[in-house]
Amino acid sequence: MRFGRFGLARWPIAIFALMMLAAACTFGEGASDDGGDGGTGGPVELTIWAHRSPSFNAAIRDSARAYEAEHPGVTITLETFGYDEYIQTLQTALPAGNAPDLIHMFGTWACTYTDFLRPVPEDVISLADAQERFYPGPLGGYTCDDTLYGLPQESNVEYGATLVNTQMADAAGTSTEGWASWDDLIADAQKLTVIQDGAMVRAGYHFTAGDGLAHSFLSLILQAGGSYLNEDGTAFTFNTPEGQEALGLLKRMADVPVIDPVLFNDDENWVGECYFTELCAMGLVGPWAVADYAPDYAQVAQNTVYVKLPPLEDSEAFVADSGWGMTVSTDSANPDVAWDFAAYATLDADAASQWNLTSATLPALVENAAGATRDELIASFPHFQTWFDVLPNAQFVGQLPDRDKLYYEIIYNNGLEALRGDVTIEQALQAIETEANETFG
């Protein structure tokens, strides 16, 4: 069978052209600015997206059911995605105008999506009032150019205290109460380190995972009196005396050694796994790790306490990465109702406290870190005690152009090279500064 010069080829081309046209027409559609019918009193259906996590999802569902009970016309549906899938779904759904009413978002993501998120209305809470009610660490992530784009529900902290295995500490005669200086901590960590035939079989203090290394480095710069961002936040400044002091201290720990960065890092013996399989005596990871690992490692969890890290140069300040919270998308047809629910879940002290209890997270609301709520949280999660003590020292890490790249590619890779002795501290700092400044574009 022969076909004309264009013959059947014309049809696929036509179909393809139609599809391109359809794609062009639908792109960005749905970004509605109208107030929707939220105020008319009719039934309202809200959808909220979140990453898949049993405790977080249960906490969101509980908040939704409680809100629905108080607002009979409102139905809230939770849709969840695996973590990586969630990030990709947001990347495609937000520009395409297919986002749900509410997005459960990590604070440090918020400012990268401001084109697709609604600012928090003044009648929900003003920025000034929010700064009064929330810790600066979690709130900072949602504050973009002095505009608030979401409300946090938890304080995500990865620095300030370390896991300590009390059984190992007792056996080695080391402290489970705290250390006055880094020298004391390093001395204890050295006693806890086990080396056989020249190979480290147990690390004394594991801080060389992606988050641990980045948070340690940035926090120690702050404690040394420096800053990793210039005054207007437009450039990184790592190659400084404070940067040298921070990386120098971390390098000293690898030299002693209390950690072998080749055997203990993000890929091999990640800190949570390392600690709970008893390959590390102390490990730097946030309080969420205990909730995650305790069911599988009950015995180790029983022998676990969090101990406050020592200060450097008398400063206890440390960086924090915001936390999970509620945002409302520009695609929401019922933004008023969506914000009403977000306000209920985050600003109502009882609802917010219940959310923290169910999700095993530290509160973002200052008032929930005191009094009966604090006691209730500590009764459920005894290891929170130490974190409540250090929480006021947490500072928001700042608006970083690409936080993940800075942490997991730049600080992590160059930091490990320095700790292994492959490059000098000065070379590592220079590389970190150059590569980090490239992320400003």
Binding site: L263, E268, T277
Partner: protein, 333 residues
Amino acid sequence: MASETIRLERRRRLFDGREGAQKRFVFAVMSPALIFMAVFMVLPIVWAFALSFFDFSPRRTGSPILGLGADNPFVGLEHYRQMTDFSSDATLNVRQFHTAVKVTLLFAFLVVPLNLLITLPLAAMIESVRDRVRPLFRTIFFLPVLASSVGVAIIWSFILHPQNGLLNGLITKITGRTTIVAWLDNPDLVYFGIPVALLMVIAAYLWQDIGYNMVIFIAALQAIPRSVTDAARVDGASAWQIFRHITLPLLRPTILLASILTMISAFQVFDLFQVMTEGRPDDQTLAMSLNIYRNAFRYQQMGWAAAMSVVLFLIVFVISIAQARLLRTRWEY
């Protein structure tokens, strides 16, 4: 007037009469496949090619036309120009691109010959055993192909774990000394310029992949006429001479097919790298597919990632053409 007549005649031939009916039938049965290909193959390729000329990030709104332009500006060939910057001042993105190209080429050019060196003799050996046990060997060697790549990567990661891994445990048992080697994480473990971490990924890849080519070679071996080898045997040729001078040349088209398929899949390996090493240590296992994924979905630099994927496409295309020309035969049996 004449062109209008020709157009109408073409239209009549397309829709009327027996030939028209045939064309309509062909169009009807081909449409689902064409639509599928257009939506899931052609459209993404065209989109990726277009994106490579923009500094596109899904974090930014861009213009109403496909989100291109405005905050996602047109940069022309800038991404491709950056890729040719081999100076010491090149950005981290560019240096990682160069590393990824090197790693991917090294991986592919090690995997293809190793795969063929293992699978071809293996297929010949399996073909030489008794009929009753042959299916058993075929099944054993083909089983890893059926396993999920992520599962294979996790199993190999367990085997290679420094403290709890089988490999170090075995070495410790044999030597009597505690042996803790970070096979996947020690950047100083490099032999003949090849990082051990990359060799370990290659080992995992070969373990999973050899069954596939082995089955192809078994089918090809079975297709070689027995009369040819029998004639050689009558002429006094040894088993090795038969394999070297008869079997191997007759397998040339199959070797071409197997090497092209292996090369293409080696360039596209992602899951093993992602699960086993994530590009570490020190980017020694940063494959192009992994680098593209990271930039697109982790760092949301879609334009840059699209440009790298176009380069990956071109590399695979050129190498496949070269392979086809080098191994082409002008005869059949």
